[in-house]
């Protein structure tokens, strides 16, 4: 129960991360770097500081509060990320909430207490807790301990994962999961690397392992216009899913939600091909994918 995990948000009344009313725990750190990432604050596996320039009122309290002299006068580049340790002293001093700490450490016991507060709503709705991220399996010992404790306390636990984990480390977790949302982006290895910066061999083999064991998996796929909505990829995904003996695929619509957060986190803009275009085409791309995948024999939900 004393095991530490790093999370960046606990969102209550989540109703789209599994059945019923749920609390979604966002764990920090991700092995992928998807070009469309909507939660860039989830990527780095450490506490960091976000600076929202438009909220800054120029009070200047942050300069005095920073023990590492990591703040600069320029509002365009307030944080010297080389020096910043993410301690959060500046965020505590900022009255305007322009500086915010992203990420906090919690023990299993603390997190369990926090998610247990909505226990009555899980009971009345058939809901529970969903671990999301980031990529929760990057903190495997923590989530294993948490899932065991939560299950022991009568809560049901779900997991949202990109599948990039070691099977042997994951296997003991399986018994404590009531559902797994398993995201597939691309089947072709080269395309996957191009879009996410990572290899997909483990992702595909873990999917097979789960399917073989009859785990409660729902495969999902974000549909990104101009990236993974090609006829080839859709066919490959359909073939792969059907090949596992699964029938359902849940599609996620693309949103340019991550955009505004990138600057705040001092991350370079990922190379999304003409972002405005992607946004405008998101709806058409999604409905095209739904149609095609249904033709290929899948039950598609959105």
């Amino acid at each position: 129960m004393q095991q530490q995990g790093l999370i960046f948000d606990v969102q209550r009344f989540s109703v789209h991360d599994g059945p019923g009313i749920r609390t979604t725990v966002f764990l920090k750190g991700c092995p992928l770097r998807c070009r469309w990432c909507q939660n860039p604050e989830s990527l780095r596996p450490r506490q960091e500081i976000a600076f929202f320039a438009e909220r800054c009122r120029g009070h200047g309290d942050c300069f005095a509060a920073c023990p590492h002299a990591a703040l600069r006068r320029s509002p365009a580049a307030r944080l010297d990320r080389e020096r910043c340790t993410g301690c959060g002293d500046c965020a505590g001093a900022c009255a305007a909430a322009a500086l915010r700490r992203v990420g906090r450490s919690v023990t299993v016991a603390e997190l369990l207490a926090e998610v247990s507060r909505d226990r009555s709503f899980y009971a009345s709705s058939g809901g529970g807790v969903t671990l999301s991220g980031g990529e929760p399996t990057l903190q495997m010992p923590f989530i294993r301990a948490f899932a065991a404790a939560a299950t022991g306390a009568g809560l049901t636990v779900g997991l949202q994962t990109c599948g990039a984990f070691s099977w042997s480390a994951f296997a003991p977790l399986l018994a404590d999961l009531a559902l797994i949302h398993y995201d597939l982006k691309a089947i072709d290895g080269r395309l996957h690397r191009e879009l996410t910066g990572a290899d997909n061999r483990a992702i595909l083999s873990n999917a097979r392992e789960l399917a073989e064991r009859g785990a409660p998996v729902l495969f999902r796929m974000p549909v990104i216009p101009g990236a993974n909505d090609t006829a080839d990829n859709l066919e490959a995904v359909a073939r792969f899913v059907l090949g596992l003996g699964a029938r359902r695929l849940h599609l996620l619509r693309y949103h340019a939600l991550g955009e505004s957060k990138l600057a705040a986190l001092g991350q370079p803009r990922p190379p999304m091909p003409d972002d405005g275009l992607a946004s405008r085409h998101a709806e058409a791309s999604l409905s095209g994918a739904v149609r095609r995948l249904r033709e290929l024999g899948l039950e598609v939900s959105t």
């Binding site: 209550r12 789209h16 979604t24 909430a97 009555s120 009345s124 619509r253």
Partner: protein, 795 residues
């Protein structure tokens, strides 16, 4: 259930919605004429009052409108408000030359009425209305002047008591003939010439008044039937005549007779005293035996009953309260508070939901009328179908019913002395106030108190900033406080000072109501009065007491939390700095204000911030407990605010929770708008974990949900789960709003005003404020056009 609003009811609804509300002079003129020319001053007041009611009911205009099945009019106009010159009517007449032209709630006057009110009514009552009789002249004048623009408290009881659930079960069982027999028996046991005898005789006059009122409608219906050319309408009019000849004198035998008897009594009670919160109560229970009997006999079916219930509901829409602009600030919204309660437990604790309950739920969804104010009781044994139907209606944007948790409220009613059976048979009155049905006279809306004003006085040594003189207690300077407990002690002293003055004034009003405004008809229909030989206004009912509302408790608690956090824990500011910033409405102190706003606040399931609200609630309730009402029974605290949270807010300067001078307080025990940041379950937990046992007079909790919740396929299920989860946590009451796109637009134009507003993006929900302008626009567009986007609904 396959019942639909009939064409007849739709037509009645259309007519009522189209009718311009009037200020009706009829009641004032008749009552004045009675007291000026007919009353025998040697007769006891209670009998004069009964005779006045009889005179009014016998002489008021009788209208039967096209298509009506149930008859009886509150006023001479299709939609109107009466005037109560012996109570607060004189004060209402301050708008005599503005009723038609005022922008909010304009009221028309019939030709000549303005003159008659001015010439006949005003001169007679200006020296005789209740406030004038409660106090010596100079004090009375000062009191009236203060109460028209109150700062510390508003004593609603100056306008009469009302606020009760009549014993309509008794009326249906006995009819007035039964009450006559009952009174005759009691008369044998009282001394001739005693006050008890006068009271009992006044009840007999009230019986006669009600019978004559019905007879007038029987005559009118028969007369109209004679002239009617349409044979089916002629038959309806004949049936109306027959019904009004039988009830309320005899116990009703049919469903229609039962509703007609209740309606006539409801009108008469509204005319006897303050036309506010005469609440019919648990109609699904009262009418159930008659309904079952009639359905079994094949004389009634669900659709016919549904039509009659629709006719009844629309009748209750024909009355509006006539207030002046200044009074409207506190009681806005043309609200008469006639509560109909459905569902819940029966007297033995078993589930009481029946077919009629479902008809009512259907009615409130299909025929969304202003009145009655529908409430639904829930307990763990409430059937799924009932819960689901309510959740579906609310998710689709119906704002009725408001929801009440038996598990919390039954013990609360018990704690005021009611038996377990009576407590289980509770109904609600006016806005939210729970009372045992048919035998409680609890003046639930006796007064409203401006609690944040007391905090302001505590911050500034008893004197409001820029005030000429000290109006609060002479408390010590805030700078001397070393802990938040010291600040709370100053608040306690100010509150104690204000409540003492309030209870002194209220005591005088209670005595004046007992002496000058007895209500024999009300007393006949309140269990205890006949047996005790005493009028309700003098404490004759079985259960007595008085409810005082604390307005602005959440703002006070959030202010204390902010002071505790910033001054005593983080030491980022001093009390003097905060007090000074408040005095200057945060001019030049934007940073301090931002820090105060960022402190922990109620509504986020934060134990410390929520606990502070509990502390202020308990403080208020404990101070009230020191005194008892003149009628008997305790003063209990309520935590609902009508619209007083806005009106009282106007006279209070900036507060340490960051609220600016003159801005409204939060409503009831709902979080201050903009304070909730963790979504609905957190807010519901905050509400449920308050010490609700001290909220004996009730409280209101608003739950506002984003429109996507209602728009989604599972929206009703989620909403139902929110309600059930909240009540399982110990929640007391809920009123649900599924948000309107207009709110989203406001949220877009004023970022920060709704930081807790969750919106559906895709695959997850996000706080609206956290979205890019483009995304916000997309969300607004979705809700604006109401197109259920099948593809992005889930993900």
């Amino acid at each position: 259930m396959t019942v639909t609003v009939s064409d007849r009811v739709r037509a009645l609804d259309r007519d009522i919605r189209a009718a311009a509300p009037h200020l009706c002079a009829e009641r004032a003129l008749l009552v004045t004429r009675y007291f000026k020319t007919r009353a025998d001053p040697h007769q006891p007041t209670v009998m004069q009052k009964a005779e006045a009611l009889r005179f009014l009911l016998a002489n008021k205009a009788v209208h039967i409108y096209p298509g009506e099945l149930l008859v009886g009019c509150f006023t001479a106009h299709r939609v109107g408000g009466g005037l109560y010159p012996e109570l607060h009517g004189v004060a209402v007449l301050e708008d005599l030359f503005a009723f038609e032209t005022r922008p909010v709630n304009p009221l028309r006057l019939a030709p000549g009425d303005r003159y008659r009110l001015l010439a006949e009514v005003l001169p007679y009552w200006v020296t005789r209305f209740l406030a004038m009789r409660a106090f010596p002249l100079r004090r009375a004048l000062a009191f009236v002047k203060d109460q028209l623009a109150p700062r510390f408290y508003l004593i609603n009881e100056t306008g009469g008591v009302s606020h009760f659930v009549p014993d309509y079960a008794g009326l249906l069982r006995h009819g007035t003939s039964g009450y006559r027999a009952m009174v005759a028996r009691e008369l044998a046991s009282v001394a001739p010439g005693s006050a008890e005898e006068s009271f009992l005789r006044s009840v007999l006059i009230a019986c006669q008044a009600l019978e004559e009122f019905a007879a007038g409608y029987a005559r009118k219906a028969a007369e109209l039937a004679g002239a009617e050319t349409d044979p089916s309408r002629r038959e309806e009019l004949r049936e109306i005549a027959a019904t009004c000849r039988r009830v309320p004198a005899q116990p009703p035998e049919t469903f229609r007779e039962a509703l007609q008897a209740i309606l006539l009594a409801q009108i008469a009670l509204n005319l006897e005293s303050l036309d506010n919160a005469v609440s019919p109560g648990r109609l699904d229970q009262l009418l159930w035996p008659t309904y079952q009997r009639e359905v079994a006999a094949g004389r009634l079916d669900a659709q016919a009953a549904f039509e009659l219930l629709g006719c009844f509901a629309l009748k209750l829409c024909e009355i509006v309260p006539a207030f002046s602009r200044r009074i409207t600030r506190f009681h806005g919204g043309l609200f008469n508070g006639q509560v109909v309660v459905v569902g819940g437990q029966d007297r033995d604790g078993a589930d009481a939901t029946n077919e009629l309950t479902m008809l009512f739920v259907e009615l409130m969804d299909q025929l969304r009328t202003r009145q009655p104010n529908y409430h639904a009781r829930l307990h763990p044994g409430s059937p799924r179908s009932y819960r689901a139907r309510i959740a579906a209606a609310l998710a689709a944007g119906a704002v009725s019913p408001a929801l009440y948790n038996d598990d919390v409220i039954v013990p609360l009613v018990r704690s005021r002395g009611a038996s377990l059976e009576d407590a289980r048979d509770y109904a609600t009155v006016g806005c939210v106030e729970p009372v045992a049905s048919g035998n409680s006279f609890l003046s639930t809306d006796a007064a409203l108190v401006n609690v944040p004003l007391c905090l302001e006085l505590a911050l500034h040594g008893g004197r409001q900033p820029r005030a000429w003189q000290r109006t609060g207690a002479a408390t010590t300077a805030i700078a001397g406080c070393a802990a938040i407990a010291d600040v709370i002690e100053l608040l306690r002293q100010q509150l104690d000072f204000a409540l003492h003055r309030l209870l002194d004034d209220l005591g005088a009003i209670e005595r004046a109501n007992g002496r000058w405004h007895p209500t024999p008809l009300t007393s006949m229909l309140l269990g205890g009065c006949i047996a005790n030989h005493r009028d309700a206004s003098s404490g004759g009912a079985t259960y007595n007491g008085s409810g005082i509302q604390a307005v602005g408790v959440v703002d006070v608690a959030d202010s204390l939390s902010a002071l505790d956090h910033l001054v005593f824990r983080e030491c980022r500011a001093t009390l003097a700095e905060v007090a000074s910033a408040c005095r200057n409405n945060f001019a030049g102190a934007e940073k301090l204000r931002a820090r105060l706003r960022a402190a922990p606040r109620y509504g986020n399931d934060d134990a410390a911030a929520d606990g502070m609200v509990g502390r202020v609630m308990t403080l208020f309730a404990d101070l009230l407990r020191a005194r008892t009402s003149w009628r008997g029974g305790e003063y209990v605290a309520g935590f609902y605010s009508v619209t007083a949270h806005q009106a009282f807010g106007e006279v209070v300067g900036a507060l340490p929770n960051g609220r600016g001078a003159g801005e409204p307080f939060s409503s009831g025990l709902s979080p201050q708008s903009g304070a909730e940041r963790r979504g609905p379950t957190a807010t519901l937990c905050s509400m449920a974990h308050l010490p609700l046992a001290v909220a004996k007079n009730g409280a209101n909790f608003n739950l506002e949900l984003a429109p996507w919740v209602g728009a989604e396929e599972q929206g009703a299920a989620w909403l139902g789960a929110l309600i059930d989860g909240s009540f399982a946590e110990g929640g007391m009451q809920l009123q649900v709003n599924v948000l309107d796109p207009a709110v989203l637009i406001e949220a877009r134009d004023h970022p920060g005003r709704y930081p807790g507003l969750l919106v559906r993006v895709s695959g997850y929900s996000a706080y609206f404020d956290d979205l890019s302008p483009k995304m916000k626009q997309e969300i607004i567009d979705r809700t604006m056009y109401g197109r259920p986007n099948a593809l992005s609904r889930h993900s």
